[in-house]
């Protein structure tokens, strides 16, 4: 560190560039730790701020995770159940077997599964309450069913396939709700937009929360800020601790959001899996993976820094020693 140019020269104080850079990076390193320690000294207030930020971050993310799972290609079958082809002939008959073969060979068809009369009966009786109803029949009243999963994703294309199959020998009827699918994909489109809007709104809320928290802190430290400026602390020097505080608030909030999201998914996973199994799907709500978690933390930290920057800068400039 250079000594002051006492009593001489045109400048009061000359510090060379390397020293200034060293001092600058030292200040950053110190603040990284010290701001966290200061925040942790008021654990109650900190926890509440973190929780508010955590909830604000986790809501849109949870919704988008659910939406992603629903609209993801390989889980489409959940909302796009296989069409059920009810047979008018016994499933062992030549006609039925020929139909099965044709369907398997068709390029428009992804998966084909035969549910024989016996299998249908067994499945039906396993559903609560229906066992007794079926016992009233002397013979099996259920037809054989071929389940067909179309390759086509598009509602109109699936409808066409259903009509084609319905016209074939040995087919009683094909049940498939095409309108439902179309409506659903429209709803998904809307939901996606709603989610974007929510994401933007909640991010804005996080920025405001952090900005407001920091403003209160500044108000409490007015005297310290004035004296620091009186002794030559620049605006950015005075602002730096608040940037780090914003960083910690956002980062900690994201950490809490991470736990909120993972535990919510854990809480939901049981019921969701049962629902998916009833559709014979392996749909599952997946937890945040490594990259996504890092992304979440980065988002929190970024919003914190942004919140600090946006709200603190002009405010700090106004505080001047008197």
């Amino acid at each position: 560190m250079n000594e002051s140019a006492t009593g001489s020269g045109a400048h009061l104080r000359q510090i060379n560039r390397t020293d200034r850079l060293k001092a600058w990076s030292r200040h950053h390193r110190q603040l990284f730790r010290s701001t966290l320690i200061t925040l942790l000294n008021q654990p109650g207030a900190l926890l509440i701020t973190w929780l508010v930020i955590g909830i604000a971050l986790s809501l849109p993310i949870l919704l988008s995770l659910a939406l992603r799972e629903i609209s993801e290609a390989d889980t489409r079958q959940v909302i796009q159940p296989a069409m059920s082809v009810y047979l008018s002939v016994p499933s062992e008959s030549e006609t039925a077997q020929a139909l099965l073969k044709r369907l398997r060979a068709s390029s428009a068809v992804g998966e084909v599964r035969l549910i024989t009369e016996q299998a249908a009966l067994a499945e039906f009786s396993s559903l609560a309450g229906f066992g007794d109803v079926l016992n009233a029949f002397s013979e099996n009243p259920l037809p054989g069913i071929i389940e067909v999963v179309p390759r086509e994703r598009d509602g109109a294309g699936i409808k066409l396939l259903a009509q084609q199959i319905a016209g074939q020998d040995g087919v009683d009827q094909v049940s498939f709700d095409a309108a439902w699918l179309e409506r659903l994909s429209a709803i998904l489109g809307i939901l996606e937009r709603v989610l974007y809007a929510l994401g933007v709104l909640f991010s804005g809320a996080v920025i405001l929360i952090i900005g407001n928290t920091l403003r209160l802190t500044i108000e409490n430290q007015r005297g310290e800020i004035e004296i620091t400026k009186l002794f030559g602390g620049s605006d950015s020097f005075v602002q730096r601790p608040f940037i780090y505080r914003g960083f910690w608030l956002g980062f900690g909030g994201a950490l809490l959001a991470f736990f909120i999201i993972q535990s919510s998914l854990l809480y939901l996973s049981g019921p969701v899996e049962r629902l998916a199994q009833s559709y014979r799907s392996n749909f599952a709500l997946e937890a945040l993976n490594f990259g996504e978690s890092i992304g979440l933390f980065a988002l929190g930290a970024l919003l914190g820094i942004l919140g600090s920057w946006v709200s603190v800068w002009r405010y700090l400039k106004q505080i001047q020693p008197k």
Partner: protein, 218 residues
């Protein structure tokens, strides 16, 4: 080191605190600024470290015309000026050590170097070993001396003091003044505003007398 060139200061409410003030202070000089309450002593000191700006005229500090200094250069100016200001008390939520270390911290000094300098400054004002205390637990005079340690710890070329002996008994006042005198002998330019005429007269120093915002006598 300090040049006031026909400087006037009008506060936003229209009050003329300084009118056409001109004087020069050489580097290493020791100058008292006297005058009755409301004469403009504090205003004059605040114009040297850029807390107030002149309405007319130029203020030069160490060769820089600070009336024209852009805002981003004010911090650099202030880092070279130690201040003991009437209304700038200590930070009561910080220990003595952190209060005194503030200018060094702003300058970005290494922690070990900061520790050495803080202890040296505290021993100069007679507060050896008190760095761990809270300002609250010190007497008024001790607090004042912590303020003085803070003002000189970074060895600034200029030292401004506004009523630095306000809370001190005569012996301690004399001691503090001789401390300021020592600084000026080391080359520090010292400017002290005070009411304590008895003390002023007992010291071999130049005297600027203000009245109603004008320099009445040298």
């Amino acid at each position: 080191m300090l040049v006031f060139d026909h400087v006037s200061k009008r506060y936003p409410n229209g009050y003329d605190a300084l009118s056409d003030v001109s004087f020069t202070v050489e580097a290493g000089a020791f100058v008292f600024l006297t005058g009755p309450s409301g004469a403009g002593k504090s205003t004059l000191l605040k114009m040297i470290n850029g807390v107030e700006r002149s309405s007319r005229g130029q203020v030069h500090v160490a060769g820089q015309n600070i009336s024209r200094l852009p805002a981003r250069k004010i911090p650099g100016l202030r880092q070279g000026i130690g201040v003991v200001f009437q209304n700038h008390q200590l930070l009561f939520d910080r220990r003595v050590y952190d209060n005194v270390a503030l200018p060094l911290f702003i300058a970005g000094m290494k922690p070990a170097e900061i520790g050495r300098r803080v202890r040296a400054a505290l021993s100069k004002v007679g507060l050896t070993g008190r760095e761990g205390d809270w300002p609250e637990t010190l007497s008024g005079g001790e607090q004042q001396r912590v303020g003085i340690a803070r003002a000189v710890v970074h060895r600034p070329p200029i030292l401004l003091a506004d009523e630095p002996t306000g809370n001190l008994d005569p012996d301690l006042s004399r001691e503090i003044m001789s401390l300021f005198l020592q600084f000026s002998q080391l080359g520090v330019t010292v400017l002290i505003a005070t009411h304590d005429l008895e003390l002023v007269e007992s010291m071999p120093a130049r005297r600027l007398q203000l009245q109603d915002g004008r320099i009445r006598a040298e």
